[in-house]
Symmetry: C2
Amino acid sequence: MEQIKKERLESKGWKIGIVSDFLELTPEETIFVEIKLALSRSLKDRRQKMMTQVELASKIGSSQPRIAKAENGDDSVSIELLIRAMLATGATPKDIGQIIASVG
Amino acid sequence: MEQIKKERLESKGWKIGIVSDFLELTPEETIFVEIKLALSRSLKDRRQKMMTQVELASKIGSSQPRIAKAENGDDSVSIELLIRAMLATGATPKDIGQIIASVG
DNA sequence: CGTTGTTATACCAAATATGATATAAATACA
DNA sequence: TGTATTTATATCATATTTGGTATAACAACG
């Protein structure tokens, strides 16, 4: 969805850096991206305090590279994975809810 | 992930009805499912008050059948889609955060 | 310096989620 | 009742997300 817009620009010779800076997103799309980034940052914080990326990956049957992407806001990472990872760090629904509620 | 467990049982001759009832899920998996169901229910409530499934679908570039599945907790529906749909009903991050925080 | 532990990047095949379509079922209401 | 509107179910090709692997970059420390 962001991917489509990105490709449209790239095909016209544009080079994309930080996407959300000048790619026109609808307000909803912007919020969606911000929610993912907020979860991403929180995941990194929490995980760093208690384990390595390898350990977290194995807890949720994922891989270290994917955890790295999750923590770096790579947009190939879904909210699904972010939430599964958060839960594996011991985050409660309340924790996750607060992070999302704080967006915007 | 749930799918794998389901197939494992079905291959042994079991017939699955309401999955989460007797399929052993880890606490994290249970919470994850509950979050999706909570979003699902809230989506249905909100959407019904203001538009049809067709209208909501077109707002987010989806289809009516997929909205139906989203509202019925079909587990082919990702949290991604649930949140995009919620936002399209005007739900704020705060609204969504509260729904998630109330799980468990 | 080299070694060890950790995280980042690139690529890919397989799994999963998706929107589209067709159509059935349910609901409302004349 | 019949008919229009809305929602549910089934199928499917495509798109996206996934975990695995290899490997690079980086940091800590002897």
